[in-house]
Symmetry: C2
Subunit: 255 residues, 2 copies
């Protein structure tokens, strides 16, 4: 169930474009993440306002790779600064930890996360910006590429503890999320529900410790909106470029 | 015919990843460009060395949008600087002009291109770096989104004149390139041949005024290489992530 909404933008080459998933492009096979349903829920609560997404995720990265001297951090700051030329930063969504779910790495995770959160806020000049952290899925530690993530629950405890102890930081649970066949990546349906949890934390300024009773319904509502002319034009052009439909059909929108 | 080569990298989040097309992500439906076959031809001539691609293209952009004060230029510089932390910039490939192929915009194109080339070289501290410009396709000015590009040939004349008059600048012809059904974008097969022309200009330090007699054969050679273990692992994982093959098959590569 794709989400198209002319009020949801994504950063490309330092500029805003209408969102089309995948938002992330760190890997060729990047799929659906939690940001799109977060953004759609935000739009439902902020009618006729626009929201922009700044993709910075890096598949398979450890928290050490997000150290403030490392490229991932510097690049994320650089991208955010391009975005902030024309917009206000309203939240940072963090979902990471699989690569730190072994070898007692959880023992340093709180401290490293603290440095990271403070570095992001300081570098971007947004000391009060909400920082929302997502728990890792219960399916970890079992199969495929997730097999080695045996300490995911200990990372989750650190994420929750961090949110409980720090101003404008919130935790959302990773309970009842399901994985792709690779055993490590959250599947698209679960990512949609996770995005709704992120928005709940953002909106209520509180931790989401349990899955929401109505998250499936909220997701369905997010994906079922009626398309505007601009959205229909966008979708028709996209489909045409992928080989569906006729040129005449598309050109009708560009008269 | 996809190109996979562990010696061809692309910039993602400021870091190098093995290339997988599409390299560009300015639009969700971005496809094959000239850079991959350029890179493969480069690898054929520079055995066991690595080449990296820095994607900066922006679909539909006019040369004014690449002005040195504009976001596209600033973002491209920012990306290139991340790349140059770990590599040497050996060339800049330019293919643009469709959006300037009407309303006598060609009259200012040479001057604007000159400012742009000098700005890129100055900002990146590479005054001698080859700047290779590609001609626009003969199919323009006729149908679909290309219909309005009636002055594409006048832009081509300016591109060629610019290359003839400026040090370390080379022109490659856009003759005998074919478009997608949209009437504006070069199709994948033609992009492959265009990349070979770009490499010919780079390698011979001269303009490529005619299609190469053997460009189809060179493209076939580029795409027919035997895969290394690393490439097979990459492809198998990519296919699995897209739903093909079994987890067991993939995990064999990660033992």
């Amino acid at each position: 169930m794709p989400i198209y909404n002319e009020n949801i933008l994504m950063l490309r080459n330092g500029r805003w474009q209408m969102m089309s998933e995948p938002i992330h492009f760190d890997r060729s096979v990047a799929g659906v993440g939690p940001a799109a349903s977060f953004a759609q829920a935000w739009c439902n609560a902020n009618e006729s306002e626009q929201i922009g997404l700044i993709p910075c995720a890096e598949g398979g990265s450890s928290i050490d790779e997000w150290n403030a001297e490392e490229t991932l951090f510097c690049h994320a700051i650089s991208e955010a600064k391009f975005a902030m030329k024309t917009s206000e930063l309203i939240a940072i969504l963090w979902h990471q930890g699989e690569s730190d779910s072994h070898s007692e790495k959880y023992k340093d995770y709180y401290r490293k996360l603290d440095v990271l959160v403070n570095s992001f806020r300081k570098e971007l000049g947004v000391t009060e910006v909400p920082f929302i952290v997502g728990g890792l899925g219960d399916y970890l530690g079992k199969s495929g590429f997730g097999r080695s993530c045996v300490e995911y629950d200990l990372i989750n405890q650190e994420l929750l503890r961090y949110a409980e102890n720090n101003r404008n930081c919130y935790f959302v649970t990773g309970e009842r999320l399901y994985s792709n066949p690779d055993g490590i990546h959250i599947n698209a349906e679960s990512q949609r529900r996770l995005g709704i949890r992120y928005f709940e934390a953002y909106q209520t300024k509180s931790n989401v410790n349990k899955p929401l009773d109505n998250e499936v319904e909220i997701v369905n509502l997010c994906c079922e909106k009626e398309y505007t002319i601009a959205e229909k034009r966008y979708i028709t052009l996209e489909q045409f470029t992928l080989g569906e439909g006729s040129l005449e059909e598309v050109m009708k929108f560009f008269k």
